[in-house]
Symmetry: C2
Subunit: 421 residues, 2 copies
Amino acid sequence: MNIRFYNARILTMQDTKLVEGELHVKDGKISYIGSENEPDVKWDREIDCKRNLLLPGFKNAHTHSGMTLMRTYADGLPLQEWLETKIFPLEAKMSPSDVALLSKLAILEYLTSGVTAVFDMYLTPESIADAFIECGMRLVQVSGINKFGPTLEVLEERYNKLNGVNDLTSFKLGFHAEYTCDRELLEKISELAHKYHAPVYTHNSETRKEVFECRQRYGMTPTVFLNSLGMFDYGGGGYHCVHFSDEDIEVFKNRGLSVVTNPGSNTKLASGIAPVKRFLQEGINVAIGTDGPSSNNCLDMFKEMSLVFSLSNIREEDASSVDGVDVLKMATIGGAKAMGLNDCDVLSVGKWADLIMIDMHQPNMQPENDIVRNLVYSGSKQNVKLTMVAGKILYEDGKFNIGTDPEVIYREANDILRRLT
Amino acid sequence: MNIRFYNARILTMQDTKLVEGELHVKDGKISYIGSENEPDVKWDREIDCKRNLLLPGFKNAHTHSGMTLMRTYADGLPLQEWLETKIFPLEAKMSPSDVALLSKLAILEYLTSGVTAVFDMYLTPESIADAFIECGMRLVQVSGINKFGPTLEVLEERYNKLNGVNDLTSFKLGFHAEYTCDRELLEKISELAHKYHAPVYTHNSETRKEVFECRQRYGMTPTVFLNSLGMFDYGGGGYHCVHFSDEDIEVFKNRGLSVVTNPGSNTKLASGIAPVKRFLQEGINVAIGTDGPSSNNCLDMFKEMSLVFSLSNIREEDASSVDGVDVLKMATIGGAKAMGLNDCDVLSVGKWADLIMIDMHQPNMQPENDIVRNLVYSGSKQNVKLTMVAGKILYEDGKFNIGTDPEVIYREANDILRRLT
């Protein structure tokens, strides 16, 4: 498909200056960005952007897509109780095809929010990869291995099987959390990281309880303990990172690790507010994730962006604690960096066309004082006119194009709900 | 217009049980709610709701609509500096027709967010009332008088002129804040409240600085000081109410005052987190407002609802500090009570048809574990399919019906911006 977007304002995120003109897509990649220019090409489609805004799609850098099943199921519990009494028992009943269907439900929601890639940790990675490929959606998976399963052999097999087979999907080493793994398992994961020279990702310091108990077990915070095992010798990152010490920050800085902040989940579960301002000051890469829909309860990057500056302002008692432009960077290029996606991070020639169009002809985008900050402070899913992944339009003007009728997905999700609960 | 909504799920907010069936509107009012029932009536329109959800429209219980001009203008400043160096100088240049146009821009945004009535405090109430009436939107205004203007005589004149002339609009006594009024002016406003047996509303205890300085001036908090003047002898309420003492809470409880919480603004300006859980425990009526679009920066009640429970959970370190159902009550019946709107608070026969339709055929509303809580935890403006005020559909499937082309409003708002800044 060759697609010409014209009459656009383009925010490439290489910088935050607006380009006025057009963007061309050829065979899934960006072939031109610049002023008005219609080359002698046979277009499959020419889209008049009506001065709407094109920018890179959001990267949802931490989620558990298949947990759409548990959206608004068991609200109001603290993290540990919620996991152990409600979530784990239900997850034990889910089949690979259940997970695939529930992931498709999440994909629909990602598309409405302008998300073009997700960093997913969930059960049955094979069926999840199939679902994303079928829908044309970009996916980076990370293992959520823990002492209850699967085995290290399965992890290594998946690492080899799920990488390099498809442009849309990849698989990273990871584990659920320090508190759900024993030391021996963690040491072996670190060995795998060394064998493959691979980064490792995990839930890290989400709650005070988690940090307290790790200190009791090992005399160290989760970050310092894991680092002492050589876990991060090839980089990686942490999800949540709410309760961080100075020493933790030093580890993240020195190892070049990414923080993935999850403000929706951290407030829903009352875990706390991450020190995002400090992370930025220290030059640590920060990305944003929704976490799973059971602890949020939605997959809306506009909500997350809004919470990042809102909560930071409260934490720091400073109305300028984090700037809107920095928040937009987190949601786009910060996420891409955390996920190892350097071929779809910004809009530039040769990169994958993973992009969104923001409807500026909406009251919340007017008047045009500061378009970029306005997107962060005032934007909503309602402004997402189009979501494109690898040059394919998957969502446009409220219509989905992922190969399955959304109504079928809704019906089957409710069938699973009735069957398993 | 006689309109029949059928095949609907209806949340009346008289309670939170769902009615399955239909809702009829006749001459602007609700004439039937119940199971399937098509009387022999000539309908102007019959709307198949496709099992979507009907509920009362949201009441945005504190806003400054005309401040759409300053959306994303001067972000990142603390409240006092922002007001004094940026906002007040710009407001001094705005004409009544500027305010009317900018209010229409806000009305468009309210409609996209399912808002059917707003509690507005801003300059030139006459031109604001005209704009709302022209658009068919419901408005309760409150005076923002302060020591810089207008006079008490103007306030009384407006109170008499702007009440009772139109079903859609009314006007309440109020003043900007304790810190922008002197004692003599406040005493005279209290006299007016006694003369008209009228409730009084004001910005109250938004920042620590405000409370500290009031204590220095009068040896009392703003609430206690104002109450000592007899200001609340006929009820009323406060906007923000972030930094409240036990004594303040007692005053609100004993006088039956409403708290209007503004979490978007309180985080954007780093003012703090209101003790919403405590207010509810004490039986105080709580409503929700966006505040003006310059300190938020949007007019999105879904964002505000989400922030109410998010921030409360952080403040209380408790994942169940405020329940989603309570938040929905604040955004609907709580707002109506604060604004004195007892004829459009819930859906029941004889009340004005001020209602919205929520699109359940969206991924964020699926699967259907708990529809009501899901609306609060996961809903967004994207789910608003229809907004009706007094029986007239003002917004439907992304199209506006307020008598003026939105593009004209956007263009004129940008013209005002260029002219005044």
